[in-house]
């Protein structure tokens, strides 16, 4: 039996899972707070804009967005498989393309700042 090439998609999935666990709950809470009009001073628009304008800041934001998208795409692929959707190649292609397009878009927007 040949060894699998699954690590190509699994490693970014695992990294994304870690990123999601650390960042996404905080981002959800902060977004809710912002929606209710409570924006902590450290997270004001100007400071966030400056972060996205900085090279390292761009890289961090891109990492969080791209890895989270990839992780979610892969998780959804596995969920489809678990539910008995056997068209794995089709499901994987569609979901991974969505994740890649989303990542490219976030890179594009970040580079415009």
């Amino acid at each position: 039996m040949a060894k699998s090439h699954k690590p190509v998609v699994w490693f970014p999935f695992a990294a994304g899972g870690t990123v999601i666990a650390f960042f996404i709950p905080v981002i959800v809470v902060l977004t809710f707070l912002a929606a209710l009009g409570h924006i902590p001073a450290g997270l004001s628009y100007e400071r966030m804009h400056a972060l996205a304008g900085n090279g390292l800041g761009k890289l961090i934001i891109f990492g969080v967005v791209a890895l989270s998208l990839w992780s979610s795409a892969h998780r959804l692929r596995c969920t489809c498989y678990d539910f008995g959707v056997r068209a794995d190649t089709l499901v994987a292609t569609v979901l991974y393309v969505v994740a890649i397009v989303g990542s490219l878009l976030s890179a594009m927007y970040l580079l415009q700042i």
Partner: protein
């Protein structure tokens, strides 16, 4: 002496006789058992008092031998470890899911046994040393690295719980892969590379989607899901070394 309380138990048991039946069917039994009894006690009482033709496997009656696994109300459980008082109404008893039925509640474990062999579940030392050189010593820390995974009793509940094994019978499966991990983690062992030929394939750890049902049903608290995730990490690192690092071993 105080009188032990009794309860009337209704069981719906899947019956199948390969000599006479074309398909399996349920049969209803009613027996009186001790309040503190387990499902296996009820089955034994049925066999002794009502229907001697009922077939099921069991041996130790203390959750050690791993032979009395069956589906109880749809969940894979050891029948010697499943108390009657936890159920109300009719208890449905079926053979372990995902395995071919041999007769009544007895399933054929051949597929699991064959897969267990393929992961080489034994110590493969770097070099054999003669007995005169003494034992292979291990520190408590080295022991703790694999001890939990060595507690598997081969009851196959994890295979009955795993949806992936149900969908893809080629999957090496939770218990066999966990055994591979148990020996990989053993300081006396040097056989990881050999086992990777099975572990790192599609049928190995990569069919697992981390549903986690194996760990939930494990009566020995082995946590196969954690063993498989750890092997995914080491297999991924192997892949990077083999494909992305110049001069990395092929």
């Amino acid at each position: 002496m105080t009188q032990m309380k009794e309860r009337l138990v209704q069981l719906e048991v899947l019956r199948y006789n390969p000599d006479t039946d074309t398909e399996a069917h349920f049969q209803r039994y009613e027996v009186t058992c001790y309040e503190e009894g387990v499902v296996l006690d009820a089955l034994n009482k049925i066999k002794a008092d009502i229907d001697p033709t009922l077939n099921f496997r069991w041996s130790c009656h203390m959750a050690v031998c791993g032979s009395c696994g069956m589906m109880i109300n749809g969940e894979p459980k050891l029948s010697c470890h499943t108390f009657l008082r936890e159920y109300e109404g009719v208890i449905r008893v079926e053979p372990l899911a995902h395995f071919p039925i041999e007769r009544d509640l007895v399933t054929a474990p051949d597929d699991f046994m064959e897969k267990l062999k393929r992961v080489k579940p034994y110590i493969i030392p770097k070099e054999k040393k003669p007995i005169s050189e003494g034992e292979y010593k291990q520190t408590p820390t080295q022991l703790m690295k694999f001890r939990q995974y060595s507690m598997c009793i081969n009851c196959m509940l994890c295979y009955a719980a795993c949806p992936e094994y149900g969908l893809d019978p080629q999957f090496i499966g939770p218990a066999a892969l966990t055994m591979a991990h148990r020996y990989n983690q053993d300081s006396r062992d040097a056989g990881r590379e050999e086992r990777q030929e099975v572990v790192a394939t599609h049928e190995g750890v990569w069919t697992c989607t981390f549903v986690g049902a194996c760990s939930e049903v494990c009566p020995a608290h082995v946590d196969p899901a954690s063993a498989l995730q750890q092997m995914k990490i080491t297999s991924s690192i192997d892949w990077i070394v083999e494909h992305l690092i110049p001069g990395g071993k092929k």
